[in-house]
């Protein structure tokens, strides 16, 4: 599901449309708020409060009672609701396989490609040290 928070809402919506999701009732209207982001002292010690980030959350319920919860960084209300809907669908045996192949897998592949490309660009800036041989004879 982590793949969804990294995708744009129109991407998710376009892919989700292909599996004809059932209608869902709103359990929680998309709501923007904050989370306090925590770091650790020294990177691995006791936690401390670094600063806040905007987050939007939503919750939906399918006709059979399955509930889905959506959380994402930022203030995109549509995206929070779409994630909540996907969270509900992934729990349903009749939708989970299609969700995986038609929505999650393509998003994952696209993100993987982009991440790989990015990593290759970064890798090109890695330093190769060499030593100059001094003539001391």
């Amino acid at each position: 599901m982590a793949v969804l928070v990294h995708a744009a809402s129109d991407q998710i919506a376009a892919l989700l449309a292909e599996i004809a999701p059932p209608s869902a009732e709103t359990l929680r209207e998309p709501e923007a708020g904050l989370v306090m982001v925590r770091g650790r002292i020294g990177g691995d010690g006791a936690p401390f409060n670094l600063g806040e980030a905007t987050v939007t959350r939503a919750a939906v319920r399918l006709a059979d009672g399955t509930c889905g919860f959506g959380y994402t960084l930022g203030r995109d209300r549509d995206k929070a609701r779409l994630i909540a809907l996907c969270d509900a669908l992934v729990q349903r045996d009749d939708y989970a396989p299609a969700l995986e192949t038609k929505v999650l897998a393509p998003l994952r592949d696209a993100q993987q490609t982009e991440r790989q490309q990015h990593a290759e660009q970064i890798a090109a800036t890695k330093v190769d040290f060499y030593t100059l041989v001094r003539g001391e004879d």
Partner: protein
């Protein structure tokens, strides 16, 4: 006594209308979009998020636009905005060891495992103005190279394995994490509160204080053990869902300062440390923060605390540029009544002075 004075509404309205016009500038010049600010003035956006203490690139870009590029004003706007939103809770502490690194350097080990990765940096540029940028730029695409699967441990973890550096303080489950947005700061402040304060503190102020420690005002023999910048995953334990949900990734910079060693009769000598962490690519900020964090540990480490950077109350009370701006800039608000009373007092004192001078003169004449 306070006297209410009314008036000036029309002037204020017109001043704001004028401000909007001046903000827009020459209308024949294309207007800036938020995407342009976010993409092309990215480090300015980072700074506003860091000191505004709110991670939201779009809002920070909006704040910069609204503030006409005045970053402290933009930071103020972001702080004011955050006060309007409910807080859902706190994230799981982020794991910088698992960072998707974009830059990672160590000035202590040439052959650090995982390598020295320069990433997008101003270092080694010649600092010559580039007129090419004025002509419109379409830079070459970045070079690419095979990605190494080598691990990239934190330098402090490597030193820690041999016990050569002090361990980070571990959490006490009994003590909640301090939060200065909920409880006003009191002294002495624990390290979690100090780091929160420094993380949102003014970069210029921390830079000057960090610099002062290097020049001898609370020297701590620092080495930049490691600086890393990249993306980390955020997780949040959502009460309604009942499990940890992924929220997405944020970019952060971390600086591990390795400092002067210390030992005692019972403990072998080992390096001490200072820590810096901030949103975005904020290298100067996190380096300064790490120096000041280390300086503020003087008492804990049994050092003389004589320098400004070691004075916790001085540093933490003056690091916040929104607070500082508020108090400095309030001086331009009307102080007419205050000033009238000062003026009255001054006139009376001068009269008394002149009378005394007159009397003394008369007495002197009489004495002669």
């Amino acid at each position: 006594m306070y006297v209410a004075v009314k008036g000036g509404e029309r002037a204020i309205d017109n001043a704001h209308r004028l401000l909007a016009d001046r903000r827009r500038g020459d209308r024949t010049v294309p207007e800036l979009s938020l995407a342009q600010i976010s993409e092309q003035l990215a480090l300015g956006v980072d700074r506003v998020m860091v000191e505004g203490s709110l991670y939201d690139r779009e809002l920070a870009a909006l704040a910069i636009k609204q503030a006409r590029g005045d970053l402290i004003e933009a930071i103020f706007l972001l702080r004011a905005f955050r006060a309007t939103l409910p807080r859902f809770g706190a994230t799981e502490p982020l794991d910088t060891a698992a960072m998707q690194v974009q830059r990672r350097i160590s000035s202590t080990f040439k052959d650090v495992p995982g390598g020295q990765i320069l990433g997008p940096t101003f270092d080694y540029t010649h600092r010559l103005l580039d007129p090419q940028l004025d002509l419109g730029s379409d830079p070459e695409l970045p070079e690419r190279a095979p990605v190494s699967s080598e691990d990239m441990p934190r330098v402090t973890d490597i030193l820690g394995r041999d016990g050569l550096i002090e361990a980070s303080p571990q959490a006490d489950a009994e003590v909640p994490v301090g939060d200065l947005t909920r409880e006003p700061l009191s002294f002495p402040a624990d390290r979690d509160l100090r780091l929160q304060n420094l993380a949102r503190g003014d970069e210029g102020f921390l830079l000057a204080l960090g610099y002062s420690t290097q020049r001898g005002y609370g020297r701590s023999h620092p080495f930049a053990g490691e600086i890393r910048f990249g993306e980390v995953e955020l997780e949040f334990v959502a009460e309604d869902a009942g499990f940890a949900v992924p929220l997405g990734t944020i970019a952060v910079t971390e600086c591990q300062m390795v400092n002067q060693f210390k030992g005692s009769a019972t403990q072998p000598p080992c390096f001490t440390r200072g820590y810096g962490l901030a949103f975005g690519q904020s290298e100067r900020k996190t380096m300064a923060m790490a120096l000041v964090d280390r300086a503020l540990r003087a008492r804990e480490l049994g050092e003389d605390a004589l320098a400004p950077a070691q004075d916790e109350e001085f540093v933490l009370s003056h690091s916040d540029n929104v607070q500082a701006t508020g108090f400095v800039e309030h001086l331009k608000l009307p102080h007419y009544v205050d000033f009238q009373s000062e003026l009255g007092l001054l006139r009376r004192l001068r009269e008394e002075f002149e009378q005394d001078a007159g009397n003394n003169g008369a007495m002197q004449e009489a004495a002669e």
